[in-house]
Structure formats: structure tokens, C-alpha cells
């Protein structure tokens, strides 16, 4: 575990911190649709950067969030996953896992959005496992970087949503 902790410290400094306006983006959510951060204005948005589709476990991070979606909705929060996989790959993955939230393709330029959020791993060419809660005004209210191999679960997100002012 020592090495993953070290990695976490190295990268934690560059992750966009609470209080920062969430950088806008325009990313494909399907092969023929694009979404921007502004599309989610007026309600909290959870952005979950993750390394890759098709991780070989059934309780993977995106499947977990799919199950927890009703809890997120209690805070009126929307959820979007982001990885460098292409839109067709996302479509196949989402269909296979029956995901009920969009997966955004940070595919071209590769990792461009992840870089602006400080959530890109240069050497590996994938997104970090990084979580952001963006408030209804488009400002980051919470961010968290997980060791790449550890699925961070959803407890931190729920605590962050709980901490948002209700008005």
C-alpha cells in the first residue's frame, strides 16, 4: 500500500481544488451528442474520472455508482463518468453494464479535459480515479483523488453532496 499512498500524494496537489470554477468542456456523451458542464447548471454535478471501461470486476466503480444513483438523485445531483475511451466503446460498456448515466469520451484531444481538471496520468495515458462535486453554480465544491487501483466508493460523494448548501 505504501506505493499507492505515495502516488496519491504526488498527484493530489495538481487536482483542481474546491472553490475553483469547473472548467467547461464539450464532450461526446454518445457518438452523435455532446454535453457541456453548463448543461448541468442549476443542480449539482458529480464528475467521476476513471481509467478505463471494461475493468474486470463486476463491482466496478461505474456499476457501483449505477446502483447508488437513487441516493445521488435525492440531492438532485447528476452524474457523468469520464475516461479516454471513445464514444462507441462507452456505448458498448454502458449497454453491457446497464448504466443509467452518461459516460463522456475524453478522446480527442486525448485526455484534454482530464488535464484541465488535473486528473490525467501522463505516463499511463489514462484518467486518474478522481472525483469532483460541482455545485449548481458551476464551482467545484469537493475533489478527491483515489489511488488508481482502489475504487473510492460513493461515501465521499454523498458526504460532499450533503455538505452543499440546500438553497
Amino acid at each position: 500500500m505504501a506505493t499507492t499512498t505515495d502516488t496519491r500524494t504526488d498527484h493530489a496537489s495538481k487536482l483542481l481544488a474546491p472553490g475553483t470554477p469547473a472548467p467547461d468542456f464539450l464532450l461526446p456523451s454518445t457518438p452523435d451528442q455532446r454535453v457541456s458542464v453548463n448543461d448541468f447548471r442549476g443542480a449539482p454535478l458529480i464528475l467521476a474520472f476513471y481509467p478505463a471501461d471494461w475493468s474486470p470486476v463486476c463491482g466496478d466503480q461505474m456499476s457501483l455508482y449505477n446502483e447508488v444513483l437513487p441516493e445521488f438523485h435525492r440531492y438532485k445531483a447528476a452524474l457523468a463518468g469520464v475516461s479516454v475511451d471513445g464514444a462507441w466503446c462507452h456505448a458498448a460498456f454502458a449497454r453491457d453494464r446497464k448504466l443509467h448515466f452518461p459516460l463522456l469520451a475524453d478522446f480527442e484531444p486525448k485526455g484534454g479535459v482530464a488535464r484541465r481538471y488535473g486528473a490525467y496520468r501522463d505516463g499511463d495515458g489514462v484518467c486518474e480515479r478522481a472525483l469532483f462535486v460541482i455545485d449548481k453554480n458551476g464551482v467545484i465544491s469537493w475533489s478527491y483523488l483515489s489511488p488508481l487501483g482502489v475504487n473510492p466508493g460513493a461515501d465521499g460523494i454523498l458526504e460532499a453532496l450533503e455538505a452543499l448548501p440546500s438553497k
Binding site: 500500500m1 470486476v57 463486476c58 463491482g59 466496478d60 466503480q61 456499476s63 457501483l64 449505477n66 446502483e67 447508488v68 441516493e71 453494464r97 446497464k98 448504466l99 443509467h100 472525483l131 469537493w142 475533489s143 478527491y144 483515489s146 489511488p147 482502489v150 475504487n151 473510492p152 466508493g153 460513493a154 461515501d155 465521499g156 460523494i157 454523498l158 458526504e159 460532499a160
Partner: protein, 178 residues
């Protein structure tokens, strides 16, 4: 921030939990599991081996964490275990479910209830009316709050175990915890 640090069991083990072993044992192992999850199926004999090895030094607790979108039978199977639990046979049903993970259709569940000599009309009625759905949800929500990040997720004396769950790894983690 604190998602890793906060990966501790909430709420702690209590009287509502399904428990095997003395509640005051030096080791409490909690599993959040899904009856249709193949990895939980792999963990099932590992837990049995741990119980054999540690005897009354360990208390084992099982909480439901059905991943219903990927495992269409998991929710009903969890409710079946709870329905059996209401008749004092939670662990017997738990074992049958894990030993027959590929046969979790409603008629299979009824057959297991029959094999366990449960009050069958009551079991069937409670399953049809989803009497235990809230209990299962409660377990699920507690898992989410505890930082469960997939199935199976183990907690050793309240702290999430992030490593592999083969016998050697779990034993080592348990030894480290006590």
C-alpha cells in the same frame, strides 16, 4: 479528502446483524455481498475456511449488497435469505444460495425454502410482497456509507480491507488487525 479515511463500517455491528460466532470475539469480519456475484462465490469457501481456522476467535457478519443492474437475481436472493432469517434459518439459506449461484430463479428459491423446511406459505407470501426489501436496502445504504466499493467488500474490526480476499491475504490482514 476523506473517502479513504472514512472507509469504516457505519453503523457498527449490532443486534440487527446476521452473525456467526461470539459477538465479543477479538476479530469481527463483515462481508458486504451479493448472492449472484461470482467473486462473492469465490469468497464463500474462503470465509468458511477462516471460520474453521479461527473458531470462536472470529465473529462473521453478512450484510446485503446486491448489484441489481448487473445481477438480476441478486435482490430476490437477498430477500430470500432474509425471509429464511425471519424463520431462524438465515445462514442455512445463505449457504444454499452460495452453493447454487447458478440457480436463483424464484422457483429455485422456493425449493430451497422447502428443503430447509420453512413455513412455505409464509415464505412465498413474504417473497411476493417483498417484505424484506427495505431491510436489504438498509444494508445496501449502510454499505455505501461505509465505503463499500464492489462485491465482496470485507471489513476487519470495522476497517475496510482493500487487498485481495484469498485465504492467505485475509488471514494476514486479520493478524495485523488484532
Amino acid at each position: 479528502m476523506s473517502a479513504i479515511a472514512s472507509a469504516t463500517l457505519k453503523p457498527p455491528v449490532g443486534p440487527k446483524d446476521h452473525m456467526q460466532g461470539p459477538p465479543d470475539a477479538p476479530v469481527t469480519l463483515v462481508e458486504y455481498g451479493d448472492y449472484e456475484c461470482p467473486y462473492c462465490g469465490e469468497a464463500y469457501p474462503v470465509v468458511k475456511a477462516l471460520q474453521e481456522r479461527l473458531g470462536d476467535q472470529m465473529c462473521f457478519v453478512f450484510r446485503n449488497f446486491p448489484l441489481t443492474q448487473v445481477h438480476p437475481h441478486a435482490e430476490e436472493a437477498a430477500e430470500a435469505a432474509e425471509a429464511a432469517g425471519a424463520q431462524g434459518k438465515f445462514w442455512e439459506m445463505h449457504d444454499l444460495l452460495y452453493e447454487n449461484q447458478d440457480a436463483l430463479e424464484p422457483e429455485d428459491l422456493v425449493q430451497y425454502a422447502r428443503a430447509l423446511k420453512l413455513d412455505l406459505p409464509r415464505f412465498v407470501l413474504e417473497m411476493r410482497e417483498h417484505v424484506y426489501v427495505e431491510r436489504v436496502r438498509e444494508d445496501f445504504r449502510s454499505g455505501v456509507r461505509s465505503g463499500v466499493n464492489g462485491t465482496p467488500t470485507f471489513f476487519i474490526n470495522g476497517a475496510r480491507h482493500d487487498g485481495p480476499f484469498d485465504l492467505g491475504s485475509l488471514l494476514a490482514a486479520i493478524e495485523e488487525a488484532v
